[in-house]
Structures are given as C-alpha cells and as structure tokens.
C-alpha cells in the first residue's frame, strides 16, 4: 500500500520539479486572474471586500482545473498508465500517490498564496487566517474530484472542457462552505461549522474521488 503511494508520489514530484513551468503556470494564472478583478471592475473597497473570498475561491477552483488534463493523459500516451494497471502495487495506492503529488504541486501553493490575494481585497487578519484554512482543507477536494474528472475524460477530445463540466458542479459544496467560512468571519460569526462541513466533504470526496478515478482508469484502458 504505502510503497505504491510513495512510488508515484515521488515520481510525480520529480516530474513536477523537472517541469516547474506547469505548477508555476497554475499559480500565475491564479494570481493574475484574482488580481484582475480589482482592475477589471474598478470597485470600491466595500464591495471588493464582500466578493474577495468568493473570487479567490473560484479562482483557486479554476486554477486547479487548469492543471487537470495533464494528470493522466501523459501517462496514457507513453504507456505508463498501462504499467500501473498491471503493476504489483494496488491501483488505489498508485493513484492516491499521483493525486497527492498533484495537490502538493498545485493545491498547497494555491492555499499558501490565497491569503496574499485576500490581502489585496482588504480582508482583515482573522478572515485571512480562515481563508488559508478553508483553501487548505478545500483544495484536496479539488484534486480528488478533479482526478476523477480527468480519468473519466481520458482519451476524449476536448477533455479539458468536459472534465470541467463534470467536476465543477461536484465541487460546489467545497466552494460554498469555503467561501462561507470567510463570510461568517466577516460578519463576526463562528466559521467553525463551515469548516467542519468542509472537512466532512473532504472525507466523502476522498472515498468517492479515489474510487471513481480507479474505476474510470480501468474503463479507459479496457
């Protein structure tokens, strides 16, 4: 189990280091799109603060979606995926390793940058901390469900858009709870209920996302 997990985790991390561009692109996209709203809307501080957490969350969602098509497609093209399916390690562990690597290279950097963007929107310090916590908790959901979407659309033309269609609706609860936690803080309410709902949703999507990814990969290579 653990060996399979660390195996693909280490390999994908190494590949990501070789192709730093991919991860950097995602982060850049996140930062630029999120910084663009004040530019594009020319809004005053009041409304800006109100939409801040939501914009940051949606941008994080879109940014991590942007990196999805690559998750399995390259492995399919060069035959590595086939090798994973016939390997001596359980498929679930191998896929979990890949998803973990995806989160470490996109979700985690996104979460760490999120408070900086929140600062741009004039969020107060306590809201920034909640924003960080909510993106930290929520971004693994995006990686997990996103992996399922990527696996389902493997080898399909227009996979990027299609994966978005499949994944985005499923991610809505994460978005609602995540942005909701920040909004609660702004209204001087307790963000904890939102965050624990987010945590529960993470647990559900761990099981569902992993199962769906493995099942979809087997189907794609049948």
């Amino acid at each position: 189990m653990l060996r399979g997990f660390t195996l693909t985790l280490a390999r994908d991390m190494r590949l990501a280091l070789r192709r730093k561009g991919d991860a950097a692109n995602v982060l850049l996209f996140f930062v630029i799109v999120a910084s663009l709203f004040p530019l594009g809307t020319g809004a005053e501080p009041g409304p800006l603060r109100a939409i801040g957490a939501g914009v940051v969350w949606v941008c994080a969602l879109l940014a991590s979606l942007l990196s999805l098509p690559r998750l399995f497609a390259a492995d399919l093209a060069d035959g590595t995926l086939e090798q994973m399916l016939v390997s001596a390690q359980p498929l679930g562990a191998l896929v979990a390793g890949k998803i973990a690597a995806h989160w470490l290279t996109t979700g985690l950097p996104l979460a760490l940058v999120a408070p900086l963007l929140g600062l741009q929107y004039g969020l107060p310090t306590d809201a920034l901390a909640v924003l960080l916590a909510s993106v930290l908790l929520g971004s693994p959901v995006l990686s997990l469900l996103g992996a399922a979407g990527a696996a389902l659309t493997l080898g399909v033309r227009g996979a990027g858009v299609l994966a978005g269609i499949l994944v985005l609706p499923l991610c809505v609860p994460a978005l609602v709870f995540g942005a909701g936690a920040v909004a609660a803080t702004l209204s001087a309410l307790d963000p904890a209920p939102h965050l624990s709902l987010l945590g529960a949703f993470l647990a559900v999507s761990f099981v569902l996302g992993l199962w769906a990814s493995c099942a979809a990969l087997r189907v794609a290579l049948d």
């Binding site: 609706p169 499923l170 609602v176 769906a212 099942a215 189907v219 049948d222």
Partner: protein
C-alpha cells in the same frame, strides 16, 4: 424471477417486450394527466395565501420528484451494468438521462416562475435551488460524457462511474430544506404524518405525479428501443426486424 430477469436482460429479448409495453404506459400517462389537470384546475380550491399562482404546484412537484427519482433509477441501472457487465443496463441509463434532465429543467423553470409571485424573485442561491441546478448539470455532464466517448460499451461504463458519484447530490437536494435555513418550503407530503394540504390538492398532485411516472416509462422504453436498434445494427436479428 431471476431467470425471467436474465432472459429479458438481453437486448434482443427486451426489444419486442418494450414495444408491447409502450402503448399501455403512454395511455396511462395521458389519462392520468387529463384527470390530474382537471382536478388541479377545476376541482381544487384557490389557495388562501397564494391565490391562483399556487396551481404551478401540479407541474412543479411532480417534475421535482421525478428529477430526483429518475436520477436514482438511472444510477442504479448504470451501477448494475458496471458490476454485471450486462449490455442492456447501460442502454437503460442512456435512455433515462434525457427524460431526467427534462424534468429537472421543468422543476427549475416552474419553480422560478413560482418564485416571482411568492418570493419576489426568480432565483435565489439557496441550498435547495442550487442543488437542483447541480442535478441538471450532472444530467448534462452524464449525457456529454456519453456523447464524447465513441465506443458505446466504454461510454456506458465511464458514465456509470459518474452517475454513481453524483448520487450523493440526491439526499442533499431532498434534505437541504431541513439541513439549511432555506427560503424553499419543507416537505408537506409524508408517509408518517397527516397531510397538511387540502385533499383535492393532494389528489391532483398525486395524479400528476403518476402521470409523470407513466410518461417517463413510456418515453424511456421508446428511447431504449431506438438505442438497441442503433447499437445492435450489425446483429442478424436487427436486420431481420428492420427488413
């Protein structure tokens, strides 16, 4: 029972059976709908608080119930196909999806129309409404994924995985009014508690629900027949059936 099921699990055996069943369900749907509309518009009393606008209920509630029910049935067929690898299951799921999407759209549309006079707005982003919208997206995603994969067997299995993942949304829709503080009203029909609405209203609504049910079965059977013909077009029995 098991052997009967097994026999009709083959598309070849199911095709004529479906053909024989369609007229029955279609007529049942038509008669029930006429009766339901009559009760709904001429027998049921005007609502004390909402006036005549409440009559949208005869469209809205059946559509909303069917949207969720069809999804569960569709996911059930899809899951069955994934486990047992039977050809008919995937075809049934494909046949159900458009009808389910149609009812979801109808529920959203009628709900929005209803919301204008009662809530003063077409749309609010509350949990019930949002999760119903997500249901529409799930149906459309299911259809889009099926369309995108050329090999029908592969398409069946991939979309089955998606359908099963999406099932989580159904309890969220149903219980959203209890779990969250929503604008939308809670359940007023329940098997355990006494009904809270006028008997004629309830009768009209239930008639419409059964009509929607019969309609869904008839339409899905007709669609599954078309799918069987298309997928098995190279089989000898289809050539004979067409010729």
């Amino acid at each position: 029972m098991a052997s009967v099921l097994y026999t009709y699990a083959s598309p070849q055996a199911f095709y004529p059976l479906a053909g024989r069943m369609i007229p029955w369900f279609a007529w049942a749907a038509a008669i029930l709908a006429l009766a339901g509309l009559y009760v709904g518009f001429f027998v049921a009393p005007t609502d004390a608080t909402q006036g005549e606008a409440y009559r949208i209920i005869f469209l809205h509630v059946p559509a909303a119930w069917m949207s969720m029910f069809i999804y569960v049935v569709m996911a059930g067929w899809a899951g069955l196909g994934l486990v047992l690898n039977t050809r008919l299951s995937g075809m049934m799921a494909s046949a159900l999806a458009p009808t389910g999407a149609m009812f979801t759209f109808l529920a959203l549309w009628s709900g929005a129309l209803w919301g204008r006079p009662t809530w003063g707005t077409y749309w609010v982003w509350d949990a019930r409404l949002t999760s119903e919208l997500i249901l529409l997206f799930l149906y459309l995603g299911f259809i889009a994924l099926k369309e995108a994969i050329e090999d029908p067997r592969r398409a069946d299995r991939a979309s089955a995985v998606l359908a099963l993942v999406g099932v989580v949304n159904i309890p969220i829709i149903y219980f959203s009014v209890q779990w969250w503080n929503t604008l939308h009203q809670g359940a007023s029909v329940s098997f355990t508690a006494a009904p809270k609405m006028a008997a004629t209203m309830l009768a009209g609504m239930l008639l419409m629900v059964f009509a929607a049910w019969m309609y869904s079965i008839a339409v899905s059977l007709a669609r599954v027949r078309a799918i069987i013909l298309e997928r098995e077009r190279d089989a000898a029995w289809v050539r004979e059936a067409i010729a």
